[in-house]
Amino acid sequence: MLTIDSLREYGADVDDGMKRCLNNEGFYLDLVKSVIPDTRIAELEAAIADGDLDKAFETAHALKGMYSNLALTPLSAPVTEITELLRSRTQTDYSGLIDTIKKKKAELDSL
């Protein structure tokens, strides 16, 4: 079950996220739950696969803002990294980063 403790264990900077929610635990957990059905990691992967780095950057950028605000550090760290690479449209192998992101998302989903 998704709780403050399980999120902390997962590696989220819960204190930071909670402060931003005026220390309202219910609201914070609600927001975190709302990102679980989000399918944009798959969209990001597809865009990179299609070579559409513009779309990939936009998607990564959006995810970065969302995860950072919720202080979901295990996700926001690799997403920030990929965003910066995509900002300069770097041609590189993104699969490692994508795998990390997918793995961390799956971990979150399973909480």
Binding site: R20, A62, G65, S68
Partner: protein
């Protein structure tokens, strides 16, 4: 927080959160809704709809930059270009440093970084941006005059002070520009026409300001204040204005008066500088042509001096700063001049200003009526002095006192004089009254009645300054007087001007005809004295015999004469 609560006065302001990311929208909305009512948009197009719909209610927009449909930049540009919407402050939400500069250039009030700051920081930034924007609106709405678009007075003064802080060495002029007889312009042509005139004048002033980098306000009705770097061509400027008005407003007979205080003294308040320009403007009395007047420091100092005299008078009376001096009058009919009487003359020994000449304060006090108080003071002093001399020397030295125009209209005049004489144990015929000739010509009937009453009571009346007014021979014949006192002007030139000598001879002839003595005052030289004696003048007063002196000094004159009598 206290300040915010007070400012908000129970109004819950509305804030629009624009972000395509639901989580961000919800999170930010959650924070801001603690103090504000929040509405949401997920892209620029939706945001613009809401902004237009809530234009009057909306206090602030929190705007994400990267969004589908219409992004934040595009929305910022639309808002900036719309006069109705650009008043709403926008805070940009961004994680990019480079985006901050661009947003500020597009008119953003502030930015909030992503991930979001602590809620308190966000709320503080929101609050401050709203305050600033509201203050700006209030200032903008109150700093300008609705009709002309020029500043209002208080803001004008503030901007002038600001100007001086930055341009310390610049020589500035303070101008007050009024429209002549503007109330009549309004009455004759209607208020709408009057407003057109004011707006046109304001436009002309704006043109001047554009050239000179000056400042201007409409102070009230038709009075404009202008603060501008010094220039010398105000005459031409006025002519130019008049010309422009002639061509812009048909059948216009508009003219202006301009008061200029040049190269203002930076050490005095801005308000005082415009008081001075205003003074110059007010002194400009020409009402049908455009004209200007330059503030004159000396004129102003004289006014201040006069004002001080007026405000100090009551205290001076209380503190006995006024003293009565006496100038002897000598009868020269016989071989030797004989002390006949004296004239009481007031002196003001002012604690700060020293001896103030009666020429400086009598005309002022005549103008505002205070002279009556002074006259009463002199009357009482003179009567008491006659009594003192009578007691001391066993003789009467009659003293003449001045009766001002305003005293003539006093219904209690005779009663007051009678009381003064009686309370000093004197007879009215020991007391002389001087009334200036011009008072007779002002209102001859009333004054003749009054003088008749006074003479019936036994007072003797001398007509002062004779020859300076315009008495008709006709009136002279009917005049109830006991002596004619020649105007000093004739005596001054009697030795050099044949005409004046003839005039004096003529007056002496009239006096003979009326059977009254002639008194010449202002006699300063032996030559004048001998000439006056030759042509038959009866009594002489002037520096040739003695200047006005204190009662103590006058004692010596009496004593000297008594000694001589003993010798004879």
């Amino acid at each position: 927080m206290e300040k915010t609560a007070r400012r908000e006065k129970n109004i819950r302001r509305q804030v629009l959160v624009v972000d395509d990311e639901l989580v961000n929208r919800r999170l930010l909305g959650f924070i801001v809704s603690r103090d504000y009512e929040v509405i949401y948009a997920e892209n620029g197009i939706r945001a613009l709809e809401l902004i237009r719909k809530n234009e009057r209610l909306l206090s602030l927009i929190l705007l994400d930059l990267l969004m589908p449909e219409m992004d934040g930049y595009e929305l910022l540009e639309i808002l900036k270009a719309d006069p109705a919407l650009k008043r709403i402050p926008v805070i940009v939400l961004t994680s990019e440093k480079t985006a901050e500069v661009k947003s500020l250039q597009l008119g953003a009030a502030d930015f909030i970084p992503k991930p979001y700051d602590m809620p308190e920081v966000i709320l503080a930034r929101v609050r401050r941006s709203i305050e600033l924007a509201e203050d700006n609106i209030i200032i903008h709405e109150t700093e300008t005059d609705v009709l002309t678009g020029l500043y209002t007075k208080q803001f004008f003064y503030q901007y002038c002070r600001q100007h001086d802080r930055y341009c310390i060495d610049m020589k500035m002029d303070a101008l007050v520009l009024n429209i002549n007889r503007f109330h009549l312009v309004n009455e004759l042509h209607g208020r709408e026409y009057g407003n057109r005139v004011l707006m046109l004048l304001a436009d002309n002033i704006r043109t001047l300001l554009n050239e000179t980098n000056g400042l201007a306000c409409r102070c009230e009705a038709d009075s404009f204040f202008i603060y501008t770097p010094h220039r010398d061509d105000y005459g031409e400027l006025l002519a130019e204005y008049a010309e422009r008005f002639r061509s812009a407003i048909e059948s216009s007979r508009i003219s202006f008066r301009l008061g200029i205080y040049e190269n203002v003294d930076m050490s005095i308040d801005i308000e005082q500088r415009f008081d001075r320009a205003n003074l110059a403007c007010t002194n400009r009395r020409s009402t049908y042509t455009s004209s200007y007047a330059v503030y004159d420091t000396q004129l102003h100092e004289r006014e201040l001096y006069n004002e001080k005299l007026i405000s100090d008078m009551d205290k001076a009376l209380e503190e006995k700063q006024f003293r009565v001096f006496y100038q002897p009058k000598y009868n020269i009919k016989g071989d030797k001049p004989v002390l006949a009487s004296a004239e009481a003359l007031i002196r003001w020994i002012h604690p700060e200003l020293g001896m103030v000449s009666p020429g400086a304060f009598i005309p002022l006090f005549e103008e505002n009526g205070l002279v009556q108080k002074l006259d009463h003071f002199v009357w009482r002093e003179a009567a008491a002095q006659i009594k003192r001399w009578k007691d001391k020397y066993g003789r009467t030295v009659p003293v003449s006192v001045n009766v001002s125009r305003i005293d003539i209209y006093d219904a209690q005049l005779e009663e007051k004089l009678r009381e003064i004489v009686r309370s000093n144990g004197l007879e009215p015929n020991e007391y002389l009254l001087e009334i200036t000739e011009s008072a007779y010509t002002d209102n001859s009937e009333q004054i003749i009645d009054k003088v008749n009453l006074l003479r019936k009571d036994g007072f003797r009346v001398e007509m002062d300054d004779f020859g300076s007014g315009y008495s008709s021979l006709n009136m002279l014949a009917a005049l109830p007087i006991d002596a004619l006192k020649l105007d000093m002007q004739f005596i001054r030139t009697i030795c050099s001007s044949e005409k004046d000598l003839k005039m004096v001879e003529l007056v002496i002839g009239i006096a003979r005809f009326l059977n009254v003595p002639v008194i010449a005052e202002g006699v300063e030289t032996e030559e004048q004295y001998l000439l006056l004696k030759k042509i038959g003048c009866d009594i002489i007063q002037g520096y040739y015999f003695s200047k006005p002196v204190s009662p103590e000094e006058f004692n010596k004159l009496i004593e000297a004469e008594q000694k001589e009598e003993l010798l004879c």
